[in-house]
Symmetry: C2
Subunit: 526 residues, 2 copies
Amino acid sequence: MIPLFTRRRFLDLAGAAGGSAAIYQMALGLGLIPAAARADRPDLAPLGARRRRRVVILGAGISGLTSAYELGRKGYEVIVLEASHRAGGRNLTLRHGDLIDEIGNPRRCEFDPDPDLYMNAGPARIPGHHTALLGYCRELGVGLEPFINDNRNAWVQDEAMFGGRRIRNREYITDTRGFIAELAAKSIKPEDLAAPLTRGDYEHVLAYLRSLGDLDQSFKYRGSLRAGMALHDPSAPDVLKQPLDIHELLQSNFMMNIMTFGEGDDQAAMMMEPIGGMDQVVAGFLRKVDQHVRLHAMVESVQVKERGVRIVYHAQGVRTVIDADYCLSCIPVHLLSGIDNNFPADFAAGLAAVPRGKLFKIGFQMKERFWERENIYGGISWTSQDIQQLWYPAHGIHRQKGVILGAYTFGPRTGEMFARLSNEQRLELAIRQGEQLHPGYRGYVEHGVSIPWVRMNNMLGCAAAWTDELRQQWFDLLRSPVGNYYNIGDQMSYLPGWQEGAIYSAWHALADIDRRERQNSQPAAA
Amino acid sequence: MIPLFTRRRFLDLAGAAGGSAAIYQMALGLGLIPAAARADRPDLAPLGARRRRRVVILGAGISGLTSAYELGRKGYEVIVLEASHRAGGRNLTLRHGDLIDEIGNPRRCEFDPDPDLYMNAGPARIPGHHTALLGYCRELGVGLEPFINDNRNAWVQDEAMFGGRRIRNREYITDTRGFIAELAAKSIKPEDLAAPLTRGDYEHVLAYLRSLGDLDQSFKYRGSLRAGMALHDPSAPDVLKQPLDIHELLQSNFMMNIMTFGEGDDQAAMMMEPIGGMDQVVAGFLRKVDQHVRLHAMVESVQVKERGVRIVYHAQGVRTVIDADYCLSCIPVHLLSGIDNNFPADFAAGLAAVPRGKLFKIGFQMKERFWERENIYGGISWTSQDIQQLWYPAHGIHRQKGVILGAYTFGPRTGEMFARLSNEQRLELAIRQGEQLHPGYRGYVEHGVSIPWVRMNNMLGCAAAWTDELRQQWFDLLRSPVGNYYNIGDQMSYLPGWQEGAIYSAWHALADIDRRERQNSQPAAA
């Protein structure tokens, strides 16, 4: 998923004063840089044979499963209470027959029963530096394959340019950059160069601009093979495409982020996805902890005690009370605030203060992989319409059918708009908008599923939508334990909306429990 | 493979006079644009029951196999003579036990017997617009998966900057672009904008530069998350990396092409490769034509006759004469010129006039996938050293072992240099240079294979190294039939070094044969 709110602001605010070196120095000063500060995977001390610790984990999302796995293998007694019919939380892969548990509108996924026909309704990609998640994938035997963000053959369709006509991403990026590089080469003078650049670097700057824009020897942009050819025919000489009109291209500032989307910290190639669906991560954890997970278990009360936590839950008509030494909860904090509890007032206020993201996705089973006939294999098309993106599968290439993501919208306005519609209205709107990218689109649709996260049962939203202000006010408080109770989940990280954030939140809490347990096991001072 | 010589020159020369619109108009004038000009896959007229046509195909490379498949299914009698021990030509995937048929130095590949441990020694990637090859993959059941060129986590190591210290590709690209975008934003004035840009576009240009370089609100580059973070720890606030020194970065003009390599016409994502190795394409064709292929068949003579072609070949001690109606040859033309023939003098001169590429590759079986611990999954690291590139596999993720490409050099000088060394010397040099990118590299190497295409038996070079001058002088002549004899192969295309070029060359010849056969089958004029 895309982080809803940029995490960059924190340091940007500081950096505004003194430039990037200042940012770095500030970070050093804060002790953020040294490797020792890093929240690595905690190596929990095993409980001795005589020590027994019971930990209740509320929610079988990725942070809950991580906690159960780490604690269970070190001798802790673990009970995972999960309100829904399945483990995984927002790690949700939809296949034939799966329940789409939207409040007031539960329905089944009608994709054909076929292992290639699935939709990752929550997280869908893993960058190569998400070492925590990748480490568990390795350890738990979760097979991985490449995921593709950036496909230069995919479409860009922006109502602000070319009358809304679709153009190839490779033309959009190449032609815009070519013209601007030409303009820069014309405008930059040797005297514009300031330290650390030298006068001698002027030629290097020009050479760079030529390479950046694919300019000719006189620094003109005359079109580029990077934009694709007018005609693919290797038995004849190349025919360059005529460059698009730069004035039109520049009207598309609304969409400029897509020109660099695939270069983002968490989005740059090579990205990965589990073979067979993101919920293979859940399956991997469950191979280790399934016996500890109780589904359909609705938590009714969380009471922090002097030496532990008392949980009351309801499952299959039975009310059960558990007294635990520790409690870790990845229940979305805005839902937790509605459950009976005895948290301090400020902590309880914080639970209710953090809003949630409103991501919305649609998946369509298509009876033909028509996009492959348009030379599109994997990747994303972009549109200024509400559906925002179309994703094409990078697996199952050249099979008859495929599931594409027919909408992925992360703006709160469109997320709300889609959520207010009926399932049928959502699909109809997405089909109509999809036609702007792929004429004839409607004719390929066999089944559609819509996932409005704000209306999904036991969720009512997706990632915590932290702002800088909210974070400053509440984050440390909500992440600090109340007695032996801990909030976890991607909501308790600086990377909401990513499984990596969820894992780190669990590690953070587990390290604290481990610290306390190690202290407890010390012989009393003489 | 990378085309050895840019195909762009042809139109560049014309374009220099009048800009890109002129190029396009010229192309229109040449009749290159209309779809009718396109050399689509020929739909050969089936031979009637009474007509028999024998076609001898010299060489079981991709163009030869394409020809055999297309002709065979339309009723032609097909005989494919292949000099080597295997079909496929330069489509060569090396696995456990395979012969590396270097002249004077034949040896075996000692990779472990494991389906994930292979090396594509020839072509290794397929772009999404290579519709000819992709069409056969679909038709012949060749499974495909993504191939990764661009990995921002991979390394760039350039002796011209930072004293040869490796840096991450994401820093190399992001920091350079950020500083130059800042410089451009500072230098470009509203009055620099010329039509079709308007004064009103000035703000758009600035917005574009901000997006391009990830500049701050005052158009300063202060570092970017695109360059990665100083520390990956989602439980703490982000820490930007300190930007690298732009003066140092700009010294690397030698390597600037790598900043846009992954955007090339034939290199931009999403690229593909066959699951299990590129030779699955060969296997796909052989499922249709294996019965027609004679291995170890050395052609001794090609004699064009008035109504056909006589071929003499030698196999297993037996000399055989075949009289065929047609002959298609993908024998490298510089080797063909040494075989007894009766071609016209100018044609024979042309055969000897086209030089060959000198690509060189090394594959290393590594006992650990150490690169994955450096967050590198798939893609390419670049170095200014002779080995030029390291490729990491995008398949077999998180397994114990992997095969990486330890050298891929396409400059003729380095290709020759490596070819002159013994196999052991080549591997030693590549290991020593690899250490600059991955300290400890040597310790991971289990087996190495080197492929100097200039010394490979029955090849003595790879793709035809056409220059504009050579092409103008010889290409049309060599592609025109001599009687019923045709040269084919990627050498007879505008896309040498790519299987797509090979297929189109076959289609070009087959269309001509079909035209002649259709004429022959017309009833005589009354």
